[in-house]
Symmetry: C2
Subunit: 580 residues, 2 copies
């Protein structure tokens, strides 16, 4: 059987930075050539970054992507890299197509270009456009109608894009065309445990196609999405090679593949097969190298990795170097600080402690201990006199007085942020944000919210895991033990505990998982055994807090349904689930 050395370039593009992304592609192609690869594949829409959202509706942007892709081909040819076949994702538009409603300036397509010999030899548009969860591709793209099969070195290589393998069709078209390899380029965002689903799916589609499948995914953070990499090659029901998650990589794999044997273009299935031929001859027999296979991470390590990468890239891609956050000594702000230290280095993390008369001694001490253990900067700004000065004129009480403290702290953080150029981090977790236990323009301020999609029970798990992993490496655990073990409190009045008004977080998180992530009804929840009054009260809190979530900063999606693109509810809504 003919041999082929393929390289999957798991790179980290930036949305809109077409020039910079092209440099990433060129470096990856050079590295693949240095490794002796015959084919290098790069992620979906690597030229533009992904997702570009409404930039796809901007004609100047679409044309910049098309032009950059053509120029890339010429540049690779001029650099003597024309022998290497390159598959890149880019933003294209249908030529000569009629205008469509909402897409007045040409019809954008999410496309793959096959580059060889200094030119774009063939291109093909994504067939299946995801339009659920975080995806809105019907808003932007016209689907492709053809399956592309490119002959290279005596092998027919079928090219697909991301969602194409989450639906039926392309794998069957690849089989019908007699493909020896399926290459799938992806921009597939992270969710906890998605790596398992992904590997299973690749194996299923490879089996349907009757050939190995090479899956290349991008890596990096983009607003609320984290692309985790996890590029794979599967063959004969097994993962034969795997790139690590959460970092750039070039996965080089030697394959023996079925020789091309057909020249027709089967039209039986939903997709017409279009063929291209690079005219390259079968590779001379060589000694294959053993493939590398990155180990699978345990759950906490994987989620923690996603949070660190999401924050690091939000900071860097938005032109920041430093972050600032309020440190209360509680587990949320402490875990956020440790994630920040891992993401941008403790020298770039500025903590601010803002004790009030109601702050307990250990809150102040725990924040100081965190600073000592990690090396982050810690500043203290007392708020007692500020509270008094406001209260002289406003005389607020109850929740209004509690919120005043939280908002005074926020004014301090934002002032320091404006003065020194720090990105402010909001430290709230998903459980709090679900039930609205957050002060709008108080603890909710910030440009990014690392724990936005992390439930309170998961916050504790991640904190314990982070400490344990430090111990394993012979380091001091960064998080003071007292921070993990103490009862959660907002400390906005004396002796206040979260459990004064909320159920135990394990119970709350179970209810929230069913209601927020699974869309289960109150009737279902009660039938499962949850207390009817608690269910009714918690669901009311969730529904009522939508206006707060709408103004909350973005944070990395790690669950099946985050607050953001995944869950889009009206603020004005009288719908209330009833348990009867």
């Amino acid at each position: 059987m003919p041999q082929l050395r393929i390289a999957l370039a798991q790179v980290n593009p930036t949305v809109g930075d077409i020039g910079g992304n092209i440099e990433l592609v060129v470096h990856a192609v050079e590295a693949a050539a240095a490794e002796g690869a015959h084919l290098v594949a790069l992620p979906e829409m690597v030229v533009t970054g992904y997702p570009v959202e409404d930039l796809a509706l901007r004609l100047s942007f679409v044309d910049a992507s098309r032009r950059a892709t053509t120029e890339l081909a010429a540049r690779l040819g001029a650099a003597g890299l024309g022998d290497l076949a390159v598959i890149v994702g880019y933003l294209d538009r249908q030529s000569g197509a009629a205008d469509r409603v909402g897409r007045p300036k040409g019809s954008p397509q999410n496309s793959a270009a096959v580059i060889a010999d200094g030119r774009v030899v063939a291109h093909s548009a994504k067939h299946h456009l995801p339009n659920y969860g975080v995806f809105d591709e019907y808003r932007y793209f016209v689907p492709g109608q053809e399956a592309l099969v490119v002959r290279m070195h005596g092998i027919d290589v079928a090219v697909s894009i991301c969602e194409d393998i989450w639906q039926d069709g392309p794998s069957l078209a690849a089989r019908a065309a007699g493909a020896g390899l399926m290459v799938v380029i992806n921009g597939s965002p992270y969710e906890a445990n998605k790596d398992d689903v992904r590997a299973g799916l690749c194996i299923q589609r490879a089996t349907e196609a009757g050939c190995p499948l090479a899956y290349v995914n991008m890596v990096g953070g983009q607003d609320e999405l984290v692309f985790d990499g996890d590029s794979l090659v599967v063959s004969a029901g097994d993962v034969v090679a795997r790139a690590p998650q959460f970092r750039s990589d070039l996965l080089v794999v030697d394959l023996e593949l079925a020789a091309a044997c057909r020249d027709d273009s089967p039209t039986g299935g939903a997709l017409t097969v279009r063929r291209a031929d690079l005219g390259t001859s079968v590779v001379e027999t060589y000694e294959p190298r053993p493939p590398t296979r990155a180990p699978w991470l345990e759950d906490e390590a994987e989620i923690y990795g996603a949070l660190v990468l999401g924050l690091r890239d939000y900071v860097a891609k938005n032109g920041f170097r430093t972050v600032l956050l309020g440190l209360s000594g509680g587990v949320d702000s402490t875990l956020t600080a440790v994630i920040a230290c891992d993401a941008v280095g403790p020298a770039n993390v500025y903590g601010v402690s803002n004790p009030s008369d109601w702050s307990t001694r250990h809150s102040v001490d725990d924040a100081a201990e965190l600073a000592r253990r990690t090396g982050l900067h810690l500043d203290t700004v007392e708020i007692g006199e500020l509270i008094e000065t406001f209260q002289k004129q406003l005389t607020l009480d109850g929740v209004a007085e509690e919120n005043l403290q939280a908002r005074i702290r926020a004014v301090i953080w934002m002032g320091l942020s404006n003065q020194h150029g720090h990105l402010v981090l909001a430290c709230g977790n998903k459980s709090e944000l679900s039930v609205g236990y957050t002060t709008l323009y108080g603890d909710a301020v910030g440009g990014f919210a690392p724990l936005k999609d992390v439930s309170k029970t998961l916050v504790w798990k991640l904190a314990s895991w982070r400490n344990a992993s430090a111990v394993e490496r012979g380091e001091q655990p960064p998080i003071p033990e007292n921070t993990i073990s103490k009862a959660p409190s907002a400390e906005l009045r004396p002796g206040q505990l979260d459990t004064d008004s909320l159920p135990d977080y394990r119970l709350l998180d179970d209810i929230l998982d069913d209601y927020v992530e699974q869309d289960r009804s109150a009737v279902d929840l009660v039938a499962q055994g949850f207390d009817q009054d608690i269910v009714t009260r918690m669901l009311r809190l969730v529904d009522h807090a939508e206006y707060k979530r709408r103004q909350y900063p973005p944070g990395p999606k790690i669950s099946v349904r985050n607050f953001g693109r995944d869950r889009r509810l009206p603020i004005t809504s009288a719908w209330r689930e009833t348990a009867r």
Copy 2:
């Protein structure tokens, strides 16, 4: 030709309030019956309110809509209203359909039910699902494949839903089926001048269908959308009847229509025709009443009406009675206050003046004069001592110091809001928000932002129009003349003017219209004659301010592209238009 008296019930439903919406429907049907109507049509998804967004993915919600629709039919029959044919929009789901990606629990449909004789006689799902601008219907719905034609009183009535008439197909199916009337039920949101487009479109589709067309639209505010009503009957190339914009109405129209003459179900077009027959006989000849035709409003009156209705409904549907806003004496906060007075009454409007050392005398006087003219409440809370107390600890300067003032004011407003239950209004205009001239957690705080989609030049126009319309009615103009005529300034440092760092607002708004609303490129803008440096600088400001817009409260859409559902750009984006 057979006669028919139709009633178009332009009602104001609330999203999620299925019980309340059913009451609206019943009252409208009773009123139509009292008027002697034979057919009454209500808006798209009137049972659930519209748009329901991700509530459509909640099975308990879909089933509540289905059940309510069935029960509505029984209730109307039991009330002796079974002779009257009723067309209502509701949320349905495909029965027995296979699960789809992202729609795991049945496949929701945006449907119309025809009710008569105490039961749902026929139903039909929307064919064309809008998925551009503010619409995401591919996310939620499965399209219908059949055109519904219902025979009543010897006339074949074709039933369509909203977007169906913005696309080809249904009008041709109505003609093929020999329909004598097309009824279109709508949830069509307001945009300036959309009424003209809508009337023209109805005339075009009526001509294609070869019969009159009755168009019923909902009215009311729903988060950032305003439904303006503007229900119409068109015939023979003319608007023969029209309901007013921005208020509930029952438009009753007598029509003579072509008798039903065919019984086949043509299948030639894209849609199969499905027929139902109510078995009602031709109406005895009666003397028709002359139709009413609401006058068309001038541009400013129409936009102002949309802003008032949007705010009124946001307040009421979210359970508020009163609003609070900072009054600087400037035109933005003043116009917002006057809109609020018109929306909820001056007794429910609380203005707060927060002078600092840099506030000019006339700012304070103009706010007092506004309160005197309108009767709204005005409170003054000085911020000098608060600034000093913060500065003792923070020593901020430059923009950080300017923002500090804006944020101290916001803490005061939010404190009063929490204490007294007022909804806080943000007063920024679209021009400011475009270029980021707003302080996050300062003047940007609030639950609703009436001027969010109103450019600065339009703010001035509306202020002048509102004063002139008061004069026309013999009232005192509410807005102090000095507020309209003075040069705009944020007054965050001595002598500051907006024109210190921005071009004249007329020039700025022209650039913003091209860039934000039309997606034109920098190259296009310079080719049109705009100065290259100004274009480059303004486009940078717009691009960079996306993170501020993301945390800004919702406000009523009045333009072709608002900041919100209409324009979805990444925060993290390195794309920068260049003018060369």
